[in-house]
């Protein structure tokens, strides 16, 4: 279906990250990831579990702004303590925002510069170390550029494939499903688990992605286009999940 905006293409790409996950907690940070996770649940992954962002598990379609569809149905209680239990048990897939990410998927949103005295203190480690070592993780980058896709992250808050490999048995639950940016979709389906350009969004050239990436990406001979949203998906996005168009504020074009 044509006429989809870039933000809508990104949302569908995020939804695709959750394909096949079944009955796990789908957590997301950022507008497009929240939209994508809800789109997956409302279409091809109806068993995904989600929270209201506070302490309840809620079922049913949850609009981003919370206004349109009425109260979601509370199906469980998940205070922070149980969130930690659940994520250490592995039944979760999180999409986190990356302030920096390298070719093996090492991730940073803790701070920029030296940790002892950072140039810019960001979120801190938060749950990234525990998330990445215990369950499936994906990343969202709303503005793809060489300061985000870097040769070396300043601080490692999320474990990448090279470091997970060195851990042996302790790294066995590590999986980075994918990275979605405003330019394309990336995965680690390469022999040594380096980041690969899996698809470019419609209207984006491979050269554009290369120029915006601070390390050498694995690029196959024929990079496909990210799939376009279907008519049903666009209807869900525009009429039910994000009728206010919050997605367009996060990604332009």
């Amino acid at each position: 279906m044509s006429g989809a905006t870039r933000a809508e293409v990104c949302a569908v790409a995020v939804a695709e990250l959750f394909r096949g996950d079944g009955e796990v907690l789908a957590s997301s940070f950022g507008t497009v990831p929240a939209l994508g996770a809800r789109l997956a649940k409302a279409s091809f992954e109806p068993d995904l579990m989600m929270t209201d962002g506070v302490a309840c598990l809620v079922d049913g379609l949850q609009p981003l702004s919370g206004a349109a569809e009425g109260e979601p149905v509370v199906e469980g209680w998940l205070p922070f303590r149980q969130v930690f239990d659940l994520l250490w048990s592995g039944r979760r897939h999180v999409v986190m925002i990356a302030s920096q990410i390298d070719r093996y998927g090492n991730h940073n949103f803790a701070c920029i510069g030296e940790h002892a005295r950072p140039r810019a203190q960001l979120l801190g480690m938060r749950g990234a170390p525990g998330n990445t070592i215990h369950h499936t993780t994906s990343y969202w980058v709303p503005e793809h550029g060489p300061r985000v896709f870097v040769e070396k992250v300043d601080v490692v808050s999320g474990v990448g494939y090279d470091r997970a490999r060195q851990l042996g048995a302790a790294g066995r639950f590590h999986e980075i499903r994918g990275v979605v940016s405003n330019l394309g979709v990336f995965d680690f389906k390469t022999p040594d688990r380096r980041m690969r350009l899996a698809s470019r969004h419609p209207g984006v050239e491979v050269e554009q992605v290369v120029a915006a990436t601070g390390f050498e990406l694995e690029i196959g001979p024929d990079v496909p286009e990210t799939r376009a949203p279907t008519a049903d998906e666009l209807r869900l996005i525009r009429e039910r999940i994000d009728p206010e168009g919050l997605r367009e504020r996060e990604v332009k074009g």
């Binding site: 506070v54 302490a55 309840c56 205070p79 922070f80 303590r81 930690f84 994520l87 250490w88 803790a110 701070c111 940790h115 002892a116 005295r117 950072p118 140039r119 810019a120 203190q121 960001l122 979120l123 801190g124 480690m125 938060r126 749950g127 990234a128 170390p129 525990g130 990445t132 070592i133 215990h134 601080v155 490692v156 808050s157 999320g158 474990v159 990448g160 470091r163 997970a164 060195q166 851990l167 042996g168 048995a169 302790a170 790294g171 639950f173 590590h174």
Partner: protein, 286 residues
């Protein structure tokens, strides 16, 4: 035993260099009246253990913090805590930054009087190099897995804020999440609990089911009735976060002149009563 006391008496137990645990999470149900009392005291060089919010920001701004043990510091609706950022970027605090779950594990280990609890969280990340005291431990069983040995986080004093309590320290949360307040109390040598309202023990069950009685009197040394004691963080169902006030705080934090004015108006006051009056006057002016 009647454990009712005052903010001043509770904070008077602090000594320079002590380790203080602060309950709540981000900008949610923080014992802010107790934090404001620390600001009024002369105590300094504290090690603060917190799922950090404006408690950490205010203590950093007042130069009370030597070391901070945390997973994050956030105002929730404003993701980055401005005073914490300033202190970090000036290199003014020793940052013992951990994964959020490791912090829980450290409190739990202290609560259970164990030297450590094992976890995978932290492996493969810079949590280990930035916390040089952390050690790993090998499983003694056939798997032989190497894990982080998260050491017990022993607290000298814990401060938490709950919705209701009785005079003996049985306490109740009425909001959606108990956070880790009971663990903070269990990990501490001295435990002080502020609450919105002190009620008769027999009235606790009128406000919520027994599941909400998260903290029992064996975990508490002092109880303080502090209505609005979590302001400007949220304390549902008693009150939501004062977002307008929080925005004013965050804006003031970015500008020295505005910060002086903010301090004079809300922090350099003789008592929590004066703070409450200043907040009321602010609301009335709008």
């Amino acid at each position: 035993m009647d454990k009712r006391t005052s903010l001043a008496e509770a904070v008077a137990e602090l000594r320079d260099g002590m380790t203080v645990g602060i309950g709540g999470w981000g900008s949610r149900r923080k014992p802010m009246a107790l934090v404001r009392e620390i600001l009024r005291s002369g105590v300094r060089d504290l090690t603060v253990v917190s799922y950090g919010g404006p408690d950490v920001g205010l203590l950093c701004a007042a130069d009370k913090v030597r070391r901070l043990v945390y997973g994050f510091v956030s105002l929730d609706s404003i993701p980055l805590e401005p005073m914490f950022r300033t202190a970090r970027q000036a290199g003014r605090i020793e940052a013992r930054e951990l994964d959020e779950g490791m912090l829980q594990w450290g409190l739990y280990a202290a609560a259970l009087r164990l030297p450590f609890l094992p976890t995978r969280a932290g492996l493969g990340t810079d949590v280990l190099p930035i916390n040089p005291e952390l050690r790993t431990v090998r499983s003694p069983y056939d798997d032989g897995e190497e894990l982080v040995a998260m050491p017990a986080l022993h607290l000298d004093v814990a401060f938490v804020h709950m919705n209701r309590a009785d005079a003996r320290g049985n306490a109740q949360f009425l909001g959606p999440d108990p956070y880790f307040d009971d663990l903070f109390c269990m990990a501490a040598r001295r435990r002080f609990l502020s609450c919105e309202k002190i009620v008769e023990t027999s009235d606790l069950r009128k406000a919520g089911s027994f599941h909400t009685l998260r903290i029992h009197r064996g975990l508490v040394d002092g109880v303080i009735e502090a209505p609005g004691g979590a302001h400007f963080t949220e304390c549902p169902p008693d009150y939501p976060r004062d977002e307008a006030f929080q925005r004013e705080y965050a804006a003031a934090a970015r500008d020295p002149a505005a910060w002086s004015a903010f301090r004079a108006r809300y922090l350099d006051l003789a008592s929590e009563e004066e703070y409450r009056r200043a907040v009321r006057e602010r609301s009335a002016a709008r």
